[in-house]
Protein backbone atom coordinates (compact mmCIF):
# COMPACT_ATOMS: atom_id res chain seq x y z
CA UNK A 1 0.00 0.00 0.00
CA UNK A 2 1.77 3.06 -1.20
CA UNK A 3 -1.07 5.49 -1.80
CA UNK A 4 -0.71 8.28 0.72
CA UNK A 5 -3.26 9.80 3.08
CA UNK A 6 -4.16 13.25 1.81
CA UNK A 7 -4.32 16.39 3.93
CA UNK A 8 -6.75 18.92 2.48
CA UNK A 9 -6.96 22.46 3.83
CA UNK A 10 -10.37 23.99 3.15
CA UNK A 11 -11.03 27.67 2.53
CA UNK A 12 -14.46 29.23 2.84
CA UNK A 13 -14.72 31.79 0.08
CA UNK A 14 -17.38 34.51 -0.01
CA UNK A 15 -17.57 37.04 -2.83
CA UNK A 16 -14.06 36.06 -3.85
CA UNK A 17 -12.51 36.54 -0.39
CA UNK A 18 -11.55 34.09 2.32
CA UNK A 19 -13.87 34.38 5.30
CA UNK A 20 -13.12 33.26 8.87
CA UNK A 21 -9.66 34.60 8.15
CA UNK A 22 -6.34 33.03 7.41
CA UNK A 23 -3.54 34.07 9.69
CA UNK A 24 -0.34 33.04 8.04
CA UNK A 25 2.42 35.38 9.07
CA UNK A 26 3.82 35.88 5.61
CA UNK A 27 0.67 36.46 3.59
CA UNK A 28 0.53 39.72 1.67
CA UNK A 29 -3.26 39.64 1.69
CA UNK A 30 -4.80 37.13 4.08
CA UNK A 31 -8.20 37.55 2.50
CA UNK A 32 -7.05 36.58 -0.96
CA UNK A 33 -7.75 32.88 -1.55
CA UNK A 34 -5.01 32.75 -4.17
CA UNK A 35 -2.41 33.92 -1.66
CA UNK A 36 -3.63 31.34 0.85
CA UNK A 37 -3.59 28.65 -1.84
CA UNK A 38 0.00 29.49 -2.74
CA UNK A 39 1.02 29.26 0.91
CA UNK A 40 -0.59 25.83 1.20
CA UNK A 41 0.99 24.71 -2.06
CA UNK A 42 4.42 25.70 -0.73
CA UNK A 43 3.68 23.95 2.58
CA UNK A 44 3.00 20.64 0.82
CA UNK A 45 -0.77 20.35 1.13
CA UNK A 46 -1.95 17.35 -0.89
CA UNK A 47 -5.07 18.99 -2.28
CA UNK A 48 -6.98 22.16 -1.73
CA UNK A 49 -10.69 22.73 -1.26
CA UNK A 50 -12.65 25.96 -1.83
CA UNK A 51 -16.17 26.13 -0.51
CA UNK A 52 -17.99 29.06 -2.01
CA UNK A 53 -20.51 30.41 0.47
CA UNK A 54 -21.45 33.35 -1.69
CA UNK A 55 -25.14 34.05 -1.48
CA UNK A 56 -25.56 36.09 -4.62
CA UNK A 57 -25.58 34.65 -8.07
CA UNK A 58 -23.65 37.62 -9.46
CA UNK A 59 -20.60 36.80 -7.39
CA UNK A 60 -20.09 33.47 -9.18
CA UNK A 61 -17.98 35.26 -11.75
CA UNK A 62 -15.67 36.36 -8.95
CA UNK A 63 -15.32 32.75 -7.81
CA UNK A 64 -14.45 31.60 -11.32
CA UNK A 65 -11.76 34.26 -11.45
CA UNK A 66 -10.37 33.04 -8.11
CA UNK A 67 -10.37 29.44 -9.33
CA UNK A 68 -8.58 30.49 -12.52
CA UNK A 69 -5.90 32.40 -10.66
CA UNK A 70 -5.45 29.57 -8.14
CA UNK A 71 -5.09 26.95 -10.85
CA UNK A 72 -2.42 29.12 -12.47
CA UNK A 73 -0.44 29.37 -9.27
CA UNK A 74 -0.83 25.91 -7.68
CA UNK A 75 0.03 22.57 -9.17
CA UNK A 76 -2.07 20.41 -6.92
CA UNK A 77 -5.66 19.25 -7.21
CA UNK A 78 -8.38 21.76 -6.42
CA UNK A 79 -11.93 20.88 -5.40
CA UNK A 80 -14.55 23.61 -5.51
CA UNK A 81 -18.00 23.36 -3.97
CA UNK A 82 -20.93 25.55 -3.05
CA UNK A 83 -24.02 26.29 -5.09
CA UNK A 84 -23.34 23.65 -7.74
CA UNK A 85 -26.76 22.86 -9.19
CA UNK A 86 -26.46 22.53 -12.93
CA UNK A 87 -24.20 20.88 -15.45
CA UNK A 88 -23.22 24.38 -16.59
CA UNK A 89 -22.00 25.21 -13.06
CA UNK A 90 -19.67 22.20 -13.18
CA UNK A 91 -18.47 22.94 -16.67
CA UNK A 92 -17.66 26.53 -15.75
CA UNK A 93 -15.69 25.48 -12.66
CA UNK A 94 -13.75 22.79 -14.51
CA UNK A 95 -12.94 25.16 -17.35
CA UNK A 96 -11.70 27.70 -14.82
CA UNK A 97 -9.27 25.12 -13.46
CA UNK A 98 -11.07 23.12 -10.76
CA UNK A 99 -10.19 19.43 -10.85
CA UNK A 100 -13.14 18.23 -8.83
CA UNK A 101 -16.49 19.74 -8.05
CA UNK A 102 -18.39 19.13 -4.83
CA UNK A 103 -22.17 18.81 -5.03
CA UNK A 104 -24.06 19.22 -1.78
CA UNK A 105 -27.71 20.29 -1.63
CA UNK A 106 -28.39 19.44 -5.28
CA UNK A 107 -27.36 15.82 -4.62
CA UNK A 108 -30.15 15.62 -2.03
CA UNK A 109 -32.87 17.46 -3.90
CA UNK A 110 -32.06 16.24 -7.39
CA UNK A 111 -30.47 12.77 -7.25
CA UNK A 112 -30.36 12.29 -11.06
CA UNK A 113 -28.07 15.32 -11.25
CA UNK A 114 -25.26 13.26 -9.67
CA UNK A 115 -25.62 10.63 -12.38
CA UNK A 116 -25.80 13.21 -15.13
CA UNK A 117 -22.70 14.96 -13.79
CA UNK A 118 -20.71 11.74 -13.42
CA UNK A 119 -21.62 10.59 -16.90
CA UNK A 120 -20.69 13.91 -18.42
CA UNK A 121 -17.47 14.68 -16.57
CA UNK A 122 -16.35 11.33 -15.18
CA UNK A 123 -16.81 9.87 -11.69
CA UNK A 124 -13.38 11.05 -10.65
CA UNK A 125 -14.31 14.72 -10.64
CA UNK A 126 -17.67 14.45 -8.90
CA UNK A 127 -17.45 14.74 -5.13
CA UNK A 128 -20.67 14.55 -3.15
CA UNK A 129 -20.50 16.62 0.03
CA UNK A 130 -22.61 15.00 2.74
CA UNK A 131 -23.57 17.08 5.77
CA UNK A 132 -24.90 14.81 8.49
CA UNK A 133 -26.06 15.01 12.11
CA UNK A 134 -26.54 12.20 14.56
CA UNK A 135 -30.23 11.90 15.39
CA UNK A 136 -30.18 8.82 17.59
CA UNK A 137 -27.28 6.54 18.58
CA UNK A 138 -26.09 4.81 15.41
CA UNK A 139 -28.25 6.88 13.09
CA UNK A 140 -27.18 9.95 11.16
CA UNK A 141 -29.36 12.00 8.87
CA UNK A 142 -28.63 14.35 6.01
CA UNK A 143 -29.00 18.08 6.57
CA UNK A 144 -28.89 20.71 3.86
CA UNK A 145 -28.36 24.46 3.70
CA UNK A 146 -25.37 24.44 6.00
CA UNK A 147 -27.00 22.14 8.52
CA UNK A 148 -30.20 24.14 8.93
CA UNK A 149 -32.63 21.90 7.06
CA UNK A 150 -33.40 18.35 8.16
CA UNK A 151 -34.28 15.88 5.43
CA UNK A 152 -34.92 12.66 7.36
CA UNK A 153 -32.64 10.82 4.92
CA UNK A 154 -30.34 8.19 6.40
CA UNK A 155 -26.75 9.29 5.78
CA UNK A 156 -25.28 5.85 5.17
CA UNK A 157 -28.01 4.83 2.73
CA UNK A 158 -27.61 8.18 0.99
CA UNK A 159 -23.85 7.68 0.70
CA UNK A 160 -24.37 4.28 -0.92
CA UNK A 161 -26.93 5.73 -3.29
CA UNK A 162 -24.83 8.65 -4.55
CA UNK A 163 -21.86 6.34 -5.09
CA UNK A 164 -24.06 4.03 -7.15
CA UNK A 165 -25.03 7.12 -9.18
CA UNK A 166 -21.40 7.88 -9.92
CA UNK A 167 -19.93 9.99 -7.12
CA UNK A 168 -16.17 9.36 -7.19
CA UNK A 169 -15.49 10.63 -3.70
CA UNK A 170 -17.47 11.65 -0.60
CA UNK A 171 -16.76 14.63 1.61
CA UNK A 172 -18.39 13.69 4.90
CA UNK A 173 -18.95 16.55 7.33
CA UNK A 174 -20.38 16.09 10.80
CA UNK A 175 -22.62 19.08 11.48
CA UNK A 176 -22.48 18.17 15.18
CA UNK A 177 -18.73 18.50 15.27
CA UNK A 178 -18.11 21.29 12.76
CA UNK A 179 -16.37 24.17 14.52
CA UNK A 180 -16.23 22.39 17.91
CA UNK A 181 -12.58 21.25 17.81
CA UNK A 182 -13.68 18.01 19.49
CA UNK A 183 -12.57 15.72 16.66
CA UNK A 184 -14.26 14.12 13.67
CA UNK A 185 -17.41 12.09 14.23
CA UNK A 186 -15.57 8.79 13.91
CA UNK A 187 -18.73 6.67 13.98
CA UNK A 188 -20.21 8.54 11.03
CA UNK A 189 -16.98 8.58 9.05
CA UNK A 190 -16.24 4.92 9.60
CA UNK A 191 -19.78 3.76 8.83
CA UNK A 192 -19.77 5.61 5.52
CA UNK A 193 -16.17 4.73 4.59
CA UNK A 194 -16.90 1.05 5.17
CA UNK A 195 -20.17 1.22 3.24
CA UNK A 196 -18.80 2.61 -0.03
CA UNK A 197 -16.11 1.68 -2.54
CA UNK A 198 -14.90 5.24 -3.17
CA UNK A 199 -12.55 7.40 -1.06
CA UNK A 200 -14.04 9.31 1.87
CA UNK A 201 -12.75 12.66 3.14
CA UNK A 202 -13.34 13.20 6.86
CA UNK A 203 -14.47 16.70 7.77
CA UNK A 204 -15.77 18.73 10.67
CA UNK A 205 -14.40 19.15 14.16
CA UNK A 206 -10.62 18.89 14.00
CA UNK A 207 -9.01 20.34 17.12
CA UNK A 208 -5.58 18.75 17.14
CA UNK A 209 -3.32 16.47 15.14
CA UNK A 210 -4.50 13.31 16.88
CA UNK A 211 -7.94 14.00 15.41
CA UNK A 212 -6.43 13.72 11.92
CA UNK A 213 -4.86 10.38 12.82
CA UNK A 214 -8.14 9.09 14.23
CA UNK A 215 -10.03 10.10 11.08
CA UNK A 216 -7.88 7.73 9.05
CA UNK A 217 -7.03 4.99 11.54
CA UNK A 218 -10.45 4.70 13.18
CA UNK A 219 -12.69 6.49 10.69
CA UNK A 220 -11.16 4.70 7.68
CA UNK A 221 -11.06 7.95 5.71
CA UNK A 222 -8.68 8.25 2.75
CA UNK A 223 -8.18 11.97 3.28
CA UNK A 224 -8.61 14.48 6.08
CA UNK A 225 -9.97 17.98 5.66
CA UNK A 226 -9.41 20.79 8.12
CA UNK A 227 -9.77 24.53 8.12
CA UNK A 228 -9.09 26.55 11.25
CA UNK A 229 -6.20 24.52 12.71
CA UNK A 230 -4.23 25.34 9.57
CA UNK A 231 -5.61 28.80 8.81
CA UNK A 232 -4.78 30.13 12.24
CA UNK A 233 -1.37 28.57 12.24
CA UNK A 234 -2.13 26.32 15.22
CA UNK A 235 -0.42 23.58 13.23
CA UNK A 236 1.38 23.62 9.92
CA UNK A 237 0.90 21.11 7.11
CA UNK A 238 4.42 19.66 7.63
CA UNK A 239 3.70 19.28 11.36
CA UNK A 240 0.48 17.45 10.59
CA UNK A 241 2.23 15.16 8.12
CA UNK A 242 5.06 14.38 10.52
CA UNK A 243 2.57 13.61 13.28
CA UNK A 244 0.51 11.31 11.08
CA UNK A 245 3.61 9.58 9.73
CA UNK A 246 4.83 9.02 13.30
CA UNK A 247 1.47 7.39 14.03
CA UNK A 248 2.19 4.90 11.25
CA UNK A 249 0.15 6.42 8.42
CA UNK A 250 1.58 6.60 4.91
CA UNK A 251 2.15 10.28 4.12
CA UNK A 252 3.68 12.18 1.23
CA UNK A 253 6.67 14.00 2.61
CA UNK A 254 8.32 15.33 -0.60
Amino acid sequence: MTLKTRIIPCLDVKDGRVVKGVKFVDLVDAGDPVEAAKAYDAAGADELCFLDITASHEARGTLLDVVTRTAEACFMPLTVGGGVRKVEDIRALLLAGADKVAINTAAVTNRPFVKEAAEKFGDQCIVVAIDAKQVTPGRWEIFTHGGRNATGIDAIAFAREVVSLGAGELLVTSMDRDGTKSGYDIGLTQRIADAVSVPVIASGGVGDLDDLVAGVRDGHASAVLAASIFHFGTYSIPQAKAHMAAAGLAMRLD
Binding site: K4, P77, G97, C125, P199, A223
Partner: protein
Protein backbone atom coordinates in the same frame (compact mmCIF):
# COMPACT_ATOMS: atom_id res chain seq x y z
CA UNK B 1 14.67 29.56 -30.84
CA UNK B 2 11.31 29.15 -29.21
CA UNK B 3 9.54 25.86 -29.66
CA UNK B 4 5.80 25.48 -29.99
CA UNK B 5 3.97 23.05 -27.73
CA UNK B 6 0.40 22.27 -28.67
CA UNK B 7 -2.12 21.05 -26.12
CA UNK B 8 -4.94 19.40 -28.01
CA UNK B 9 -8.38 20.76 -27.14
CA UNK B 10 -11.08 18.22 -27.88
CA UNK B 11 -13.46 19.18 -25.11
CA UNK B 12 -11.81 17.09 -22.43
CA UNK B 13 -9.35 17.85 -19.74
CA UNK B 14 -8.27 20.72 -17.66
CA UNK B 15 -6.58 22.60 -20.46
CA UNK B 16 -6.09 25.82 -18.56
CA UNK B 17 -4.11 24.34 -15.69
CA UNK B 18 -2.22 22.03 -18.06
CA UNK B 19 -1.16 25.05 -20.14
CA UNK B 20 -0.07 26.96 -17.03
CA UNK B 21 1.95 24.01 -15.76
CA UNK B 22 3.75 23.76 -19.10
CA UNK B 23 4.47 27.49 -19.05
CA UNK B 24 5.83 27.30 -15.52
CA UNK B 25 7.90 24.18 -16.26
CA UNK B 26 9.39 25.80 -19.36
CA UNK B 27 10.18 28.87 -17.32
CA UNK B 28 11.83 26.89 -14.51
CA UNK B 29 13.83 24.81 -16.98
CA UNK B 30 14.93 27.91 -18.90
CA UNK B 31 13.34 26.66 -22.11
CA UNK B 32 11.81 29.11 -24.56
CA UNK B 33 8.43 27.63 -25.42
CA UNK B 34 5.11 28.90 -26.67
CA UNK B 35 2.26 26.86 -25.21
CA UNK B 36 -0.85 26.77 -27.35
CA UNK B 37 -4.21 25.19 -26.59
CA UNK B 38 -5.90 24.38 -29.87
CA UNK B 39 -8.50 22.32 -31.66
CA UNK B 40 -7.03 23.19 -35.06
CA UNK B 41 -5.35 20.19 -36.75
CA UNK B 42 -3.16 22.61 -38.73
CA UNK B 43 -1.64 23.87 -35.47
CA UNK B 44 -0.98 20.28 -34.41
CA UNK B 45 0.85 19.71 -37.71
CA UNK B 46 2.96 22.81 -37.12
CA UNK B 47 3.79 22.03 -33.47
CA UNK B 48 7.20 20.93 -32.23
CA UNK B 49 5.63 18.95 -29.39
CA UNK B 50 2.14 17.68 -28.82
CA UNK B 51 0.24 17.04 -25.60
CA UNK B 52 -3.03 15.12 -25.42
CA UNK B 53 -4.79 15.60 -22.07
CA UNK B 54 -8.06 13.94 -21.12
CA UNK B 55 -10.37 13.33 -18.21
CA UNK B 56 -13.56 11.33 -18.06
CA UNK B 57 -14.57 8.11 -19.72
CA UNK B 58 -12.52 6.52 -22.51
CA UNK B 59 -15.42 6.28 -24.97
CA UNK B 60 -16.46 9.90 -24.38
CA UNK B 61 -12.92 11.09 -24.92
CA UNK B 62 -12.54 9.04 -28.08
CA UNK B 63 -15.83 10.47 -29.37
CA UNK B 64 -14.64 13.96 -28.52
CA UNK B 65 -11.38 13.43 -30.37
CA UNK B 66 -13.17 12.03 -33.42
CA UNK B 67 -15.56 14.97 -33.36
CA UNK B 68 -12.71 17.38 -34.13
CA UNK B 69 -12.54 17.04 -37.87
CA UNK B 70 -9.11 15.93 -39.08
CA UNK B 71 -7.54 15.76 -35.60
CA UNK B 72 -6.84 12.02 -35.46
CA UNK B 73 -5.28 12.22 -38.94
CA UNK B 74 -3.17 15.22 -37.88
CA UNK B 75 -1.97 13.32 -34.80
CA UNK B 76 -1.14 10.19 -36.81
CA UNK B 77 0.74 12.20 -39.39
CA UNK B 78 2.65 14.45 -36.99
CA UNK B 79 3.34 12.04 -34.14
CA UNK B 80 3.65 8.69 -35.87
CA UNK B 81 4.70 10.00 -39.28
CA UNK B 82 7.03 12.86 -38.43
CA UNK B 83 8.11 11.61 -35.03
CA UNK B 84 7.39 14.77 -33.04
CA UNK B 85 7.55 14.23 -29.27
CA UNK B 86 4.13 13.40 -27.85
CA UNK B 87 2.82 13.21 -24.30
CA UNK B 88 -0.58 11.77 -23.39
CA UNK B 89 -1.94 12.58 -19.94
CA UNK B 90 -4.44 10.41 -18.02
CA UNK B 91 -7.18 9.46 -20.50
CA UNK B 92 -4.97 11.08 -23.17
CA UNK B 93 -2.44 8.37 -22.31
CA UNK B 94 -5.10 5.67 -22.27
CA UNK B 95 -6.22 6.70 -25.76
CA UNK B 96 -2.80 5.56 -27.01
CA UNK B 97 -3.84 1.95 -26.26
CA UNK B 98 -5.43 -0.49 -28.69
CA UNK B 99 -8.75 -0.62 -26.90
CA UNK B 100 -10.65 0.85 -23.99
CA UNK B 101 -12.96 -1.49 -22.09
CA UNK B 102 -14.69 1.17 -19.97
CA UNK B 103 -18.49 0.59 -20.20
CA UNK B 104 -18.17 -0.39 -23.88
CA UNK B 105 -15.25 -1.54 -26.03
CA UNK B 106 -13.79 1.41 -27.89
CA UNK B 107 -10.89 1.51 -30.31
CA UNK B 108 -7.91 3.55 -29.18
CA UNK B 109 -5.16 5.06 -31.35
CA UNK B 110 -3.32 1.72 -31.11
CA UNK B 111 0.09 3.30 -30.60
CA UNK B 112 0.74 1.16 -27.53
CA UNK B 113 -0.54 -2.40 -27.83
CA UNK B 114 -2.79 -3.15 -24.88
CA UNK B 115 -6.16 -2.66 -23.25
CA UNK B 116 -7.51 -0.16 -20.75
CA UNK B 117 -9.56 -1.97 -18.11
CA UNK B 118 -10.90 -1.49 -14.59
CA UNK B 119 -8.25 -1.64 -11.87
CA UNK B 120 -8.77 -4.66 -9.65
CA UNK B 121 -6.56 -4.36 -6.57
CA UNK B 122 -5.69 -7.64 -4.88
CA UNK B 123 -6.64 -6.04 -1.59
CA UNK B 124 -10.37 -5.44 -1.98
CA UNK B 125 -10.43 -2.88 0.83
CA UNK B 126 -8.60 -0.51 -1.52
CA UNK B 127 -10.84 2.21 -2.86
CA UNK B 128 -11.59 2.86 -6.52
CA UNK B 129 -10.85 5.44 -8.00
CA UNK B 130 -7.14 5.17 -7.23
CA UNK B 131 -7.07 8.76 -6.06
CA UNK B 132 -4.13 10.57 -4.54
CA UNK B 133 -0.36 10.64 -4.36
CA UNK B 134 1.67 7.56 -5.19
CA UNK B 135 5.27 6.81 -6.09
CA UNK B 136 6.77 5.70 -9.40
CA UNK B 137 8.76 2.54 -9.95
CA UNK B 138 10.77 2.90 -13.17
CA UNK B 139 11.26 -0.20 -15.29
CA UNK B 140 14.00 1.39 -17.36
CA UNK B 141 16.03 4.56 -17.75
CA UNK B 142 14.49 7.33 -19.81
CA UNK B 143 15.12 11.05 -20.43
CA UNK B 144 11.63 11.83 -19.09
CA UNK B 145 12.68 10.54 -15.68
CA UNK B 146 16.02 12.34 -15.54
CA UNK B 147 16.59 13.93 -12.14
CA UNK B 148 13.34 12.62 -10.68
CA UNK B 149 13.57 10.77 -7.39
CA UNK B 150 11.64 7.52 -7.74
CA UNK B 151 11.11 4.34 -5.78
CA UNK B 152 9.21 3.62 -2.56
CA UNK B 153 10.16 6.90 -0.91
CA UNK B 154 10.62 8.93 -4.08
CA UNK B 155 8.71 12.00 -5.11
CA UNK B 156 4.98 11.48 -5.57
CA UNK B 157 2.71 11.80 -8.58
CA UNK B 158 -1.01 12.60 -8.40
CA UNK B 159 -3.24 9.85 -9.76
CA UNK B 160 -6.98 9.85 -10.21
CA UNK B 161 -8.38 7.00 -12.27
CA UNK B 162 -10.43 3.83 -12.09
CA UNK B 163 -9.14 2.27 -15.30
CA UNK B 164 -5.57 1.49 -16.25
CA UNK B 165 -3.62 0.48 -19.33
CA UNK B 166 -2.16 -2.99 -19.43
CA UNK B 167 0.48 -2.95 -22.15
CA UNK B 168 0.96 -6.07 -24.26
CA UNK B 169 4.71 -5.35 -24.52
CA UNK B 170 6.36 -4.98 -21.11
CA UNK B 171 9.22 -3.02 -22.69
CA UNK B 172 6.77 -0.20 -23.43
CA UNK B 173 5.99 0.26 -19.75
CA UNK B 174 8.42 2.84 -18.43
CA UNK B 175 7.13 3.08 -14.87
CA UNK B 176 4.67 1.32 -12.61
CA UNK B 177 2.97 2.36 -9.44
CA UNK B 178 1.64 0.05 -6.78
CA UNK B 179 -2.02 -0.13 -5.86
CA UNK B 180 -2.82 -3.61 -4.65
CA UNK B 181 -0.61 -4.81 -7.49
CA UNK B 182 1.29 -3.10 -10.31
CA UNK B 183 -0.50 -0.32 -12.19
CA UNK B 184 0.95 1.23 -15.36
CA UNK B 185 2.09 4.78 -14.57
CA UNK B 186 4.11 5.74 -17.67
CA UNK B 187 4.30 4.17 -21.12
CA UNK B 188 6.90 5.14 -23.70
CA UNK B 189 8.22 4.05 -27.06
CA UNK B 190 10.10 5.95 -29.74
CA UNK B 191 8.86 9.57 -29.64
CA UNK B 192 5.63 8.90 -27.75
CA UNK B 193 5.00 8.76 -24.03
CA UNK B 194 2.03 8.88 -21.72
CA UNK B 195 1.44 9.31 -18.00
CA UNK B 196 -1.52 7.85 -16.16
CA UNK B 197 -0.98 10.45 -13.43
CA UNK B 198 -1.40 14.19 -13.83
CA UNK B 199 2.01 15.87 -14.12
CA UNK B 200 0.26 19.25 -14.17
CA UNK B 201 -1.06 18.50 -10.66
CA UNK B 202 2.02 16.74 -9.32
CA UNK B 203 3.95 19.71 -7.94
CA UNK B 204 7.72 19.05 -7.94
CA UNK B 205 7.70 15.76 -9.83
CA UNK B 206 5.22 17.03 -12.39
CA UNK B 207 7.06 20.23 -13.24
CA UNK B 208 10.33 18.32 -13.53
CA UNK B 209 8.80 15.70 -15.83
CA UNK B 210 7.21 18.36 -18.03
CA UNK B 211 10.58 20.13 -18.20
CA UNK B 212 12.16 16.84 -19.27
CA UNK B 213 9.48 16.39 -21.94
CA UNK B 214 10.21 19.88 -23.29
CA UNK B 215 13.89 18.92 -23.60
CA UNK B 216 13.28 15.39 -24.92
CA UNK B 217 14.91 14.74 -28.29
CA UNK B 218 13.87 11.21 -29.24
Amino acid sequence: MSQTVTIVDYGSGNLHSAAKAFERAANEAGIAATIRVTSDPAEVRAADRIVLPGVGAFADCRRGLDAVSGMVEALEETVRGKGRPFLGICVGMQLMASRGLEYVTTEGLNWIAGDVALIRPQDDSLKIPHMGWNTLHPQDEHPLLAGIETGPSGWHAYFVHSYALTAAKPEEVLALTDYGGPVTAIVARDNIAGTQFHPEKSQKLGLKLIGNFLRWAP
